[in-house]
Subunit: 246 residues, 2 copies
């Protein structure tokens, strides 16, 4: 499986700088390691319409979608309504979660807290052993909380279900600038259309001027493209890393 | 002016974790300080169609749009084509930038380098004193480079043109959890619909359990909503910050 993924980070607090987004770096790293191609990240506010539109678009475009944020008991937690709207289903009270909430805080459960049992109709509950509250999945959308440590714990409990074919990566560090090498890179990119060749200049590094990345899910093809580039760029190679996991 | 903004971070390297995104934290902080409301951030790959669709949607939805990345001389730099596609205009060689490029590297200008003079038809060039290469603007879209230090320098050279009405913010740190306070927050949010009230739990802080933010562009309204909340939440206030800039 060569899956694609999208991440939707929900919360006014991220866009307004009250909370630093820890979700994106985590998912970038984890999905990479799993061989899942992260195709898009969106950060959007706690607004039902916006969430609905974004979830619908992501769900149609990518194999799996993760959302973070907006699932607590307060008035600004509207992710469940947004996900429900994306799929045109109502939000319904889930009896199993309701029982969990009540047993978790016996005698203290408020109406607000019970809102956390309201989920999109047709949602699936995932219950890996290591976590107390289930993970809510609607079609291909995994709805995770906004508190980073909790979101991480939930994702890590189910991460192996997403594992695919690993990326292989070779990195070339070059002593010449992008303009000097651009035509040779373009030639190799044309000859190896199945291999992703990236070029990233640095202006503040004494060792190199450009980092060129060569990557695909096929280790032989990655190696072949990297060897072709090594030959073409012989005059400017400072150092080569890999092949190794991407 | 109470402007809204969107940020599009373009580049496979960010989504695949080869480069850490430094643009989002920078723009979150800068726009906040300027009183501009950042409504959405997207991270997307170096793909002309994807860039075209995203830029078109952002340009229609927000007052100003910033893009970063994909403007160098290599084959994976396709942002100009993407922005042109968003507005249905061709990419044309700009004579002024061409002259700048040639004078910058006399006798060494390659065809690849001259690609950096190809910009969407109808683009405006901004030339603040402090920068050498102009900033390219297409309608309400400011096209900035992917190298963070260069993008920052360019943005800082024009930042004052975006300054609007500042946000005012009060933060309440509470000793009770979200479920216990949710109904009181919701009541205040209903009574002050023009004031944004946010609630952010922490599970790893000894000082407080929830941080509540009260915010608007009208300092009197922010203060009034904060005072109402202080009264309602008297039993659980640990500390109050502000009113201050948001």
């Amino acid at each position: 499986m060569s899956a694609t993924a999208g991440l939707i980070v929900i919360g006014n607090e991220v866009l307004s700088g009250k909370v630093v987004d820890e979700h994106t770096p985590f998912f970038v790293r984890e999905l990479r390691d799993l061989g899942v191609e992260l195709k898009k990240v969106s950060m959007i506010p706690d607004d039902v319409d916006t969430i609905g539109r974004e979830v619908a678009a992501f769900s149609a475009a990518f194999d799996v979608v993760f959302t973070t944020g907006g699932v607590g008991p307060t008035h600004d937690d509207v992710t469940m309504e947004g996900v429900a709207r994306a799929f045109g289903v109502p939000v319904v009270r889930n009896r199993e979660i309701e029982v969990l909430l009540v047993s978790h805080s016996p005698g203290e459960t408020t109406g607000a807290q019970l809102r956390m049992a309201d989920i999109p109709e047709g949602a699936t509950l995932l219950k890996p052993d290591s976590i107390v509250f289930p993970i809510i999945v609607v079609r291909n959308v995994y709805v995770l909380p906004g508190v980073p440590s909790t979101a991480r714990r939930k994702f890590l409990a189910i991460r192996e279900r997403f594992r695919g074919q690993a990326f292989s990566l070779v990195v070339l560090y070059l002593s010449k600038g992008e303009s000097a090498i651009a035509e040779r890179l373009a030639k190799t990119a044309r000859e190896y259309p199945d291999v992703a060749i990236g070029s990233y200049p640095r202006y503040d590094d004494v060792e190199y001027k450009v980092k060129v990345t060569v990557e695909s899910r096929n280790a032989d093809r990655t190696r072949a493209a990297a060897t072709a580039l090594e030959t073409l760029l012989e005059d400017s190679i400072v150092r080569i890393e890999g092949p190794g996991p991407g």
